[in-house]
Symmetry: C2
Subunit: 241 residues, 2 copies
């Protein structure tokens, strides 16, 4: 089956690792955290324990850097058997602050793609994480003007997307989501019969990794670079607006 | 000047301390925090230092409980001169977790007012803070069905409201905001020529306190109880929908 995009009216973009680098900063922070806790545990155990705690804390803290910092402090106390120095606690807090202060590094082709698509489609950002952090990144990115609307959601499940489409007053078949996470940006859309294009990033958080089946694969496209969406969506502008 | 509400189409409600108790939980947490740090400083200094740090961290952490927890840990390290025990760090994290797990306690009249007004107006929630935390509270509150839309904003300044009204496609004169904070829920609305009704809560965070002038006072109403909005907004339903 050849996938067609002729009905699309609104295109949703994931932000982290679709428009700009994000996961890389988490990996760097985890390395720094493992160094700080090297006196107490192997890097592997530290990584595993931190991941488990993040997932445990997810219902309470949600996605984003602040919850990540809090989980790091908790795990550090435990792995050190409550012998953590105050300077290490401070260093962990600073790992988090550094993450929040990171510059926004756009991925290849982002500006060109947004500039071109914004001429014919309504573009929105659909992202999960800290509201303030995402707004700050969007502002730093210089991409604000391309987007009609920013939707920060607490999770990216089918229900969240259905609610969003309702709110936007578009049918599933008129909505295309573009993102790097199969679990968050692609499969929920396939399931509600909207369109989705997968543009993988080189690193994916374990929590975002999912198994897919051949059946699903036929329902969305995978591209190796965002720029490849342009020839797929090139249609007379008039029919779009 | 008698204020008229005959043009109103959309009513925005603040959430914390307008629909449910919130600030009280922060005051309780501050008391607990002061107890934990009692070996190092007076309660007064602890309060002041924590407040100053919250404001300093606001651009980075934003509003909400997670940023509050992180600021408590920072201040505890400093006031103890880096002699804080690991169990105290843990206790501070738990003060925060307890806050996130608090039940939602509705304020007087909320259900009646929403049930009545939802018949004739589009109701939305406009709140700042952690997205996940606010969504969780709204779900716990059982008020979800009364609202057309939940808008969690990173700040409540004039620009945030103007953007919201644009997005909702209503004119300022068609929008009424109801809330407990003069600074966040009332004055920005007065400034963009929308309507606002002030329903004070018994406790207000210092950061939300502002001086007002007599001129502004003429442009919004102050009620002592949310139920008092009903007679003001009672108009034939047909003209509203």
């Amino acid at each position: 089956m050849e996938i067609e995009y002729s009905n699309i009216k609104v295109i949703g973009f994931d932000a982290d690792d679709t428009l700009w680098v994000n996961e890389t900063y988490f990996r760097d922070a985890e390395l720094e955290f493992a160094k700080l806790l090297a006196p107490y545990e192997t890097a592997n155990t530290i990584d595993q324990e931190l991941f488990k705690r993040q997932i445990e804390n997810l219902p309470l803290y949600g996605y984003g850097i602040k919850g990540f910092i809090l989980s790091m402090v908790e795990i550090a106390l435990e792995l050190s058997n409550n012998t953590l120095s105050n300077t290490t606690v401070e260093a962990i807090l600073n790992v988090g602050k550094d993450m929040l202060n990171k510059p926004v590094e756009l991925l290849e082709g982002v500006k060109d793609v947004l500039s071109e698509l914004s001429k014919g489609y309504k573009l929105i950002v659909v992202t999960k994480g800290d509201l303030l952090d995402q707004e700050r990144k969007l502002e730093k990115s210089g991409l604000m003007d391309y987007f009609h609307h920013i939707e920060v959601v607490s999770d990216k499940k089918e229900a969240n997307y259905s609610k969003l489409l309702n709110h936007l007053e578009v049918k599933p078949s008129e909505f295309l989501m573009i993102g790097n996470s199969l679990k968050s940006d692609i499969l929920p859309l396939v399931n509600i019969k909207a369109q989705a294009i997968h543009v993988p990033f080189h690193t994916t958080w374990i929590h975002e990794q999912v198994a897919t089946n051949a059946q699903d694969h036929k329902k969305y496209r995978t591209l190796s670079n965002l720029l490849e969406v342009l020839p797929l969506l090139k249609t007379p502008l008039k029919s779009k607006v």
